[in-house]
């Protein structure tokens, strides 16, 4: 092996490991939903190439209201689905769409676009 081949090999392997770590092994802490006066735990989620914030922490057993606001026209994100809660909503561009559900037992749930390309997590924590 020539020096450049050795360099490319190591750099490539490092890049591959870096990609795996970046996408799979680092998770954000998430945003804690704030409780509003009607008792709902509310979070505003921006839909643009992904969900911001994409990790929502809520307290178990209390109602949750996620307010989705889509700011793009890419067809990918026009639906949001919360399969574990049996909820879904169409998200017209530039409109705030509330999705309400009971947080239920502590655990982790996903919300995605219909094709599963954009993903977010709801972490239900014990109160």
């Amino acid at each position: 092996m020539t020096p450049d081949q050795i360099f490319v090999t190591f750099a490539g392997l490092a890049a591959a490991v870096g990609v795996a770590w970046f996408f799979w092994f680092k998770r954000s802490e998430g945003v804690k939903a704030s409780t509003v006066s009607d008792g709902y735990q509310e979070v505003m989620i921006l839909v643009k190439g992904g969900y911001t914030p994409d990790t929502i922490r809520v307290t178990a057993g209390r109602p949750v209201r996620l307010l989705f606001r889509r700011e793009e026209t890419a067809a990918c994100s026009e639906q949001v689905v919360l399969p574990d809660f049996g909820k879904s909503a169409a998200l017209p561009t530039g409109t705030v769409v509330p999705v309400e559900f009971m947080s239920g037992e502590p655990g982790e749930h996903e919300f995605t676009c219909q094709m599963g390309m954009l993903r977010g997590r709801i972490l239900v924590e014990a109160s």
Binding site: F23, D38, L67, D84, G86, K87, S88, V97, H109
Partner: protein
């Protein structure tokens, strides 16, 4: 269903304008404050989609306009006339390529911007998608070409300094075209729901203060008397108070024959009145109408997930980063072991790998078929609640039909009254009717109607005791009346032996014998029969043709049940089942290892519907949101069940085809792009072909889903 579902609150997709955003955050502005007559139907993203399509098409034309000359001019030495004008290593060629570099940058900025912004947004969320792959692929090709053009001295051989601007431009253009076609095809998959929304009439004629006025349909309130002229649409749901007509309900129920309507009949909003005039009292308006509920249910079902997609979701979560890793490894292997110029080959392989991978085909495979299938079902008056129901319906092997209202019309009528010597027909009928007049049992209504038809007025009982599923005991004036099954009278110590022969004969004719005792004396038998629906036999034959074992469940005695079963061609009968035991019988069938569907009316049969693997509520009219059912059939025909199962199977077949296609495409495309064929056949895929294949694969998935719309239901003739 997940446990969490049961305690979920309402599905609320109330929408508000951008300017209301701050107000939305205020808990005061809630759904409750909206008027009850709010527009029934959510704004659909059709307009968004049209705009998106137009933008993408403009981007495609720009990309194509630059792409064609770029393709030709990238290899001028291959083209006779150009060979002399732009010879290799000439200054003219350098300038030509430089111009192409600028033009392709313009394509990246205009046509391909969404790939880069999309990739960046995804990266910020630590995720990767199609945009990531295309952005890295086209970006790499452009950077490589530009470096080769500006700093050729960095490359050891001249052969490595060819440019690949054509890859950047053509790949961008083709993928954009693919996206445009995808947007268009996605629009088609949701046509069904848009068609439903379009059924909603705009205005209604109502009587206000004695005057007939035309008002917007949103202004109709419950209790309004609505006037429907011949040939006009029925605006909201209601009950006819006056007039007679035939109404074409095909758009809602899927039933092609117009239905006769008279006083006290239910009319469904958005159906078409034919020749007569009707006046009806509005009972459901706005978001409560059958149409609005159907639109909501179809929308929810289309957005739900087929269970198999959970597996796909896991795969697609790992897919895109895996492709990036594969392309890096491909680069390394080609650099280390590939032919010279290694760097060029390695770059091409890495770029091709990124471009051929199609996470979209994988992601769209299931939702597209589901959306089309659920929409197709809705156009036949079949409301499939969720992807779970669809997948379960495919696996069915047994179908349990509730007799009353499903196989039969559900309106039993008195056919015979056989008195014991010493008793009068009129007495038996009149006292039985008096006993049953406050009962809700369907047979009770038949007896009361039978008495009324014969000019008898049932007396008011002093008191009565109903024993559900068995009979009723009532005290009328001085007399005590028992009406019910043979066992019920016997348990009260009444000797019914004298009635047994008649009862047996009636039962053999498929009629239900009801025993009547007056003052502890067996008085006679009333025979009640519920006529079999004209198309039941054909529908049951069709169900058997689908490979299902058909089971009839009924509270009737075995003889009656078997007489009807043999008439309609049912092989297995569960007779004398009490209403509360129906769910238990379904459970017993499931314990036999069967996957069981239950077809019933959604109210009495609710527990059995819920117990079954798939519950079909049949003939629900405007009451479409039956909680216990997985599938609601708006019309009363059993053919709906046949169609529902056929559509579910076709949809699931489509889902599997799409998933198979998507997996096979990526499973073959990725290794080929990585060059596994090169050592054997010397074959290496060009990035441009990869882009073509990639665009084609996602369009194929959607086209296959759209093919479902042309699915023909099995013709069942009565």
């Amino acid at each position: 269903m997940e446990a969490a579902t049961s305690n979920a609150t309402m599905t609320d997709t109330t929408t508000m304008g951008v300017t209301d955003m701050d107000a939305t955050l205020s808990p005061l502005l809630k759904r409750d404050l909206q008027p009850a007559t709010a527009a029934p139907v959510d704004a659909s993203p059709t307009e968004d989609r049209r705009a998106e399509y137009r933008t993408l098409m403009r981007k495609w034309w720009f990309g194509a306009a630059v792409g064609v000359p770029t393709m030709v001019l990238s290899y001028p030495w291959l083209i006779p006339g150009l060979r002399d004008v732009f010879p290799r290593d000439s200054e003219q060629l350098w300038w030509l390529w430089a111009a192409m570099g600028v033009a392709s940058l313009a394509v990246i900025v205009y046509s391909g911007s969404q790939f880069f912004t999309g990739a960046w947004e995804a990266l910020r969320h630590r995720s990767a998608n199609m945009h990531t792959l295309i952005a890295i692929g086209t970006g790499t090709a452009w950077i490589y070409s530009t470096v080769a053009l500006l700093f050729p001295q960095l490359f050891p051989s001249a052969a490595m300094t060819d440019v690949y601007y054509d890859v950047t431009v053509v790949v961008t253009a083709l993928v954009v075209l693919g996206m445009a076609m995808e947007v268009k095809a996605r629009g088609r998959t949701s046509e069904a729901i848009e068609k439903l929304i379009g059924l909603q009439p705009k205005t209604a004629r109502v009587v206000r203060a004695g005057v007939e006025t035309e008002i917007p349909v949103e202004a109709v309130v419950v209790g309004d008397i609505v006037v429907v002229r011949p040939g006009s649409k029925i605006p909201v749901d209601g009950i006819v108070v006056e007039g007679a007509s035939a109404v074409d309900e095909s758009m809602i129920t899927g039933e092609s024959m117009p239905v006769a309507k008279g006083a006290d009949d239910e009319v469904i909003g958005a159906t078409m009145n034919t020749t007569g005039s009707l006046r009806f009292r509005a009972t459901k308006v706005g978001a409560d109408t059958a149409l609005a509920t159907i639109v909501r249910m179809v929308g929810d079902a289309q957005a739900s997930k087929v269970p198999i997609q959970r597996i796909v979701d896991v795969v697609s979560g790992y897919f895109t980063p895996t492709v990036v890793i594969l392309s890096i490894l491909g680069f390394v292997i080609w650099y280390d072991f590939g032919p010279a110029p290694a760097f060029t080959y390695a770059t091409i392989v890495a770029v091709t790998t990124l471009i051929i991978a199609c996470p979209c085909a994988l992601g769209m495979a299931t939702p597209m078929s589901l959306t089309t299938g659920v929409g197709l079902a809705a156009s036949h008056g079949i409301l499939i609640r969720s992807g779970d129901a669809l997948q379960a319906a495919k696996k069915l092997d047994t179908i349990v039909l509730d007799k009353t209202g499903t196989i039969t019309v559900g309106r039993p009528a008195v056919t015979d009254v056989v008195p014991r010597p010493g008793f009068e027909i009129e007495d038996i009928l009149a006292f039985a009717a008096a006993a049953e007049r406050d009962s809700e049992h369907p047979l009770a209504a038949a007896i009361v109607d039978g008495a009324t038809e014969r000019g008898l007025t049932p007396l008011q009982p002093v008191r009565f005791e109903a024993v559900p599923g068995h009979g009723i005991r009532a005290w009328i004036g001085e007399r005590q009346v028992l009406v019910g099954k043979q066992a019920f009278l016997e348990s009260a110590g009444i000797d019914v032996a004298a009635l047994e022969t008649d009862a047996a004969r009636l039962a053999d004719e498929g009629k239900t014998p009801v025993f009547v005792a007056l003052d502890d004396q067996a008085a006679g038998v009333i025979a009640i029969a519920d006529p079999v629906k004209s198309d039941s036999r054909a529908a049951i034959a069709a169900l058997r043709k689908l490979g299902l074992q058909v089971v009839m469940i009924t509270g009737d005695n075995r003889r009656t049940a078997e007489a009807i079963a043999s008439r309609v061609g049912v092989e297995r009968v569960l007779a004398e089942v009490l209403p509360q035991d129906k769910a238990h019988e379904v459970r017993k069938l499931q314990l036999e290892g069967r996957t069981v569907a239950m077809v019933g009316d959604g109210i009495n049969d609710a527990p059995a519907l819920a117990q079954a693997d798939v519950g079909f509520a049949i003939g629900t009219g405007t009451d479409v949101a039956i909680e216990a059912s997985d599938v609601t059939l708006i019309s009363g025909s059993l053919h709906g069940v046949v169609s529902a199962i056929e559509i579910s199977r076709a949809t699931m077949r489509n889902v599997y085809q799409n998933l198979f296609g998507a997996f096979v495409y990526n499973g073959i495309g990725l290794p080929v792009a990585l060059g596994v064929l090169y050592p054997f056949l010397g074959l290496l895929l060009s990035p441009i072909l990869a882009a073509l294949a990639m665009s084609f694969s996602s369009v194929t998935v959607i086209s296959n889903a759209n093919r479902l719309k042309r699915f023909r239901l099995q013709e069942v003739s009565a």
